[in-house]
């Protein structure tokens, strides 16, 4: 017991330091302004955030054809667009995977999807890098503030990837409700498991 106490103190200190000394990770944090992009949609047209002047914001989701987690969330992403596009927050899906590594994520394969929202190819992977996306699905909620689109929530859609019926906390929808009411999201960053983005091999 005598030995345990200093150890548990150290554990606590380590735990504390892991929060305090958390290094700045690449990409956007909540509160950052999102820079616009111009990416090719599966219909061949180029899409920018600036195109839709009426949007109050965007649900930007990095996703793909191949990841089981992306597949598990596909119908939920479609439902999010159905529900929130009319409220001013449409979905923009971006596929960042290198088709050389993941052939199922080629532009041709992406075209088999028939979404009511853009499904964009991030060919250079620069947009995923700018956002700091690491996995699919990885979601960023943007809210228009004056002339800017401000990152207002980053993370998971909900707390149960396997079964939408077993979801207890709808992280994104809770955040959206607060943001649409003009408040900051009380839980503005969440973490989720996903497939690592298939980066181009150097």
């Amino acid at each position: 017991m005598k030995k345990l106490l200093p150890f548990s103190l150290l554990c606590f200190a380590l735990l504390l330091s892991s929060f305090v000394l958390r290094p700045e990770s690449g990409g956007y944090q909540v509160g950052d302004k999102a820079t616009d992009f111009k990416l090719k949609n599966i219909d061949g047209k180029m899409v920018s955030l600036a195109d839709n002047k009426a949007a109050k914001g965007y649900i930007v989701v990095f996703t793909c054809n191949t990841c089981p987690y992306a597949k598990a969330y596909e119908s939920r992403i479609i439902a999010l667009n159905e529900k929130y596009a009319p409220l001013g927050y449409p979905v923009i899906a971006i596929n960042p995977n290198d088709p050389v590594v993941a052939p199922g994520d080629s532009f041709e394969a992406m075209k088999t999807k028939k979404y009511a929202f853009p499904y964009l190819l991030d060919e250079s992977q620069q947009v995923a890098k700018a956002y700091g996306a690491t996995r699919t699905p990885h979601l960023y909620l943007l809210k228009r503030q004056a002339n800017d689109l401000v990152v207002s929530y980053i993370g998971a859609i909900d707390d149960n990837s396997e079964d939408a019926k077993l979801v207890k906390t709808n992280y994104l929808e809770n955040a959206l409700a607060e943001i649409m009411a003009g408040k900051p999201a009380s839980t503005s960053t969440t973490k989720a498991i996903g497939c690592t983005i298939k980066w181009k091999q150097a």
Binding site: L10, G155, D159
Partner: protein, 155 residues
Amino acid sequence: MLLGLGLLLALPGRSQQVAVIKFPELQKRLSRPTDTTYVVNFWATWCAPCVKELPNFEQVGTTYANQKVKVLLVSLDYASQLDKKVRPFVRQRALKSEVVLLNESDPNSWLEEVDAKWTGSIPFTLIVNNKTKQRATFERELSKAQLTAALQKFL
């Protein structure tokens, strides 16, 4: 004779049982004040880069069998896939490292506690020695050389 028969009978079933655990149990195991270096790899049968790097972890387990190194493979497959995917996979590959399945539905409730920097993509590897207070994490695929180099710093 009996022993031989017993061994023979045990042989087909020699592949390990995969324990299904909750996060507090994993946390408890990883916080024990032991001088054994734990190499903990978070993976899943559906994760191609994870499956690709698994042999490296198996090899490390064999190479360092005589040293205080323990390889723990934490599957993030859904618990519902235990008999359908995970156990057959472990059996087919004859995995020697201990495999557990972490049965937690909300990663947001535990990812941060494994590592504050972990954004949630896998493969993810944690090497930890509680005696020497050393710790290293990798949110990416590791080659055999990279894994060995990382582990050497602990030995």
